[in-house]
């Protein structure tokens, strides 16, 4: 098991944002975490990656306890992530956004960087090549020298994915990759995500757009911070609790 979350709980003062939440992800899967707005999906991501401190519960990644790890340590262990909003460095160009995200593989020591040793220069050359590869993978080659903040919304999202790929993740957490995208961009993104899985990256997706279901091997549904259902996409679609969470109890026939 790649990622195993047990009894995850997060309280903000008296408000319970996530309560006793379990989820596990196996190697090579695409798992969807869906739920209505405000269900606590993004909070779960922030708890896994250490952006928010966990109230109780344990997060295990490759049999290592990452419950109390800092975000940069989590990234170093091989969990990449994207952000729903402001997913990039606005003042860098598109290419710089990707090259600056190559901090882990390869990693140059401060000494190597400061003195510009051959190792550092080799690493930088490698990074530049790889960055171009990743940009063509997400379809941003033409925009490589544009400032990131001038990109269209859909392109910013794809750049977020490109940045996450630069960390060479084992597990990739995608936070609403389809939000605000037009139909053709959605199709492109779905294909891109499938392509990542085929390249050996395990994917956990937070989304409330139901189109994501076609992609997932398994779906977990969260509402008001608690898991209400888990199963194959087809099972989840038919589940009455899920329908009532999304549309209200009146719509359940």
């Amino acid at each position: 098991m790649l990622l195993e979350i047990k009894g995850l709980t997060k309280r903000f003062g008296g408000l319970k944002a996530v309560g006793d939440f379990d989820i596990h992800v196996d190697e090579g899967e695409i798992v969807g975490l869906i739920g209505p707005n405000g269900a606590g999906k993004s909070t779960v991501f922030n708890l896994i990656t250490g952006v928010l401190p966990v109230t109780s519960g344990t997060n295990m990644f490759r049999d290592r306890d990452i419950t109390r790890s800092q975000p940069d340590q989590v990234a170093a262990l091989g969990i990449g992530r994207t952000f729903q909003l402001n997913p990039l460095f606005p003042e860098f160009t598109v290419l710089q956004n990707v090259t600056s995200s190559f901090q882990l593989h390869p990693c140059s020591s401060l000494f190597d960087i400061f003195f510009g040793t051959p190792k550092y220069r080799r690493n930088e050359r490698f990074i530049r090549e790889k960055a171009h590869e990743i940009l063509s993978l997400v379809g941003l080659s033409k925009e490589a020298n544009d400032l990131a903040r001038n990109l269209a919304h859909g392109h910013q999202k794809m750049l977020g994915v490109a940045r996450a790929l630069a960390t060479k993740p084992t597990l990739l957490l995608l936070d609403e990759p389809l939000a605000g995208m037009n139909p053709s961009e959605i199709q492109y993104s779905l294909d891109a995500i499938r392509g990542m899985r085929d390249n050996g990256i395990t994917v956990l997706i937070v989304e409330h757009n139901m189109q994501i279901l076609s992609l997932c091997d398994r779906v977990v549904v969260i509402s008001f911070g608690e898991k209400i259902c888990e199963g194959l996409p087809s099972e989840v679609r038919a589940n009455s609790e899920v329908i009532s969470a999304y549309f209200g109890a009146d719509y359940v026939c």
Binding site: D72, Q73, R81, P87, F89, E91, Q96, S100, E124, T167
Partner: protein
């Protein structure tokens, strides 16, 4: 750049021993200290305690020099190391603060540091300062060359720091600490590194300065020095590597060289310059130069500034 270096290296032949030389030594000190401030600022930290860090360097050099008769060649590096250590220790808890809260925190911190220093009784000479710091040389030209050398080395190090992957990390942390952390750039680690690096050169020149003056006096450091530093940086341009140097040139060197008879009115002129810049040129003089350069290049039909080297992060065109 090379021309400026040669001129500065040969200048003592023309102005040997004069007051101008004193002005330039002072300018070298402030170029480094202001650039140190800017180096810390690229990681998103507006360090108002910069003048106090300079003071830490100065007193860490002056105290052993006066009371233990240590050689200046030991005490000056000691000043740099002391400023680095104090800076790093302070940077650790302060890495939790951002933007205006960080500035406020360091403002009070600088105040506390200077008060601690002056509260040291006879050891630190209290508010009158610690006199009798033994000089390095008897000849001012030698001071000039030492200051010049220290400036060149310091600026080279800071240039390397900013325009390598280390600077990229700093700028990434400044833009979004969350996004930076998600690719493995730890915020705290890098912010401490920026402070440690910037305060090393600040302490180094602070220590040099007190040996040059022969006295470590609290009025030369602390908040007063910080205000000068911020003025130089803002007028020259916070977003460009040479901004602080240009600021020192415009607000320190040129007035002292050409407008000395204005002496009493100079603060008003300086204030006017500062206000004009603040209202019209958010990127300072260097920002203006880049703007004009951009316009000219465009008019010549080459379509904007030449592409920057791929993969190298340069928020500005440092020029040469």
């Amino acid at each position: 750049m090379g021309v400026v270096m040669i001129v500065l290296a040969l200048l003592p032949l023309a102005i040997s021993g004069s007051y101008y030389m004193h002005v330039l030594i002072l300018a070298f000190v402030y170029v480094v200290v202001s650039s140190g401030f800017r180096t810390i600022s690229i990681s998103g930290q507006f360090n108002i305690a910069q003048g106090a860090f300079m003071g830490v360097g100065a007193y860490a050099a002056a105290i052993p020099a006066v009371w233990l008769h240590w050689s200046p060649w030991v005490t000056i590096p000691l000043g740099a190391v002391a400023a680095t250590v104090v800076g790093s220790i302070i940077a650790y808890p302060f890495a939790r603060l951002r933007t205006v809260y960080y500035a406020m925190g360091t403002l009070f911190l600088g105040y506390v540091i200077m008060n601690l220093i002056t509260a040291g009784g006879k050891t630190t000479g209290m508010s009158t300062g610690l006199g009798g710091v033994q000089p390095l040389f008897s000849n001012r030209t030698h001071y000039y060359y030492l200051a010049f050398g220290l400036m060149v080395v310091s600026m080279a190090c800071m240039y390397r720091f900013e325009f390598s992957r280390i600077g990229v990390r700093m700028k990434a942390v400044a833009q979004s600490h969350q996004v930076a952390a998600s690719v493995g750039i730890g915020e705290r680690r890098n912010r401490i590194l920026a402070v440690a690096f910037g305060s090393f050169f600040t302490g180094l020149l602070g220590a040099f300065y007190c040996h040059y003056q022969g006295v470590a006096s609290p009025s030369s450091y602390g908040l007063g020095a910080t205000l000068l530093i911020i003025m130089y940086v803002l007028v020259g341009g916070l977003n460009s590597f040479w901004g602080p140097s240009v600021g020192v040139l415009i607000l320190l060197v040129i007035p002292e060289f050409y407008f000395r008879d204005l002496k009493g009115d100079l603060p008003y002129v300086t204030a006017a310059i500062l206000l004009i810049i603040a209202f019209t040129l958010p990127d300072g003089i260097v920002g203006l130069v880049n703007l004009v350069k951009n316009r000219i290049v465009k008019r010549l039909g080459r379509g904007g500034l030449p592409q920057q080297p791929e993969g190298e992060v340069r928020a500005d065109a440092p020029g040469d």
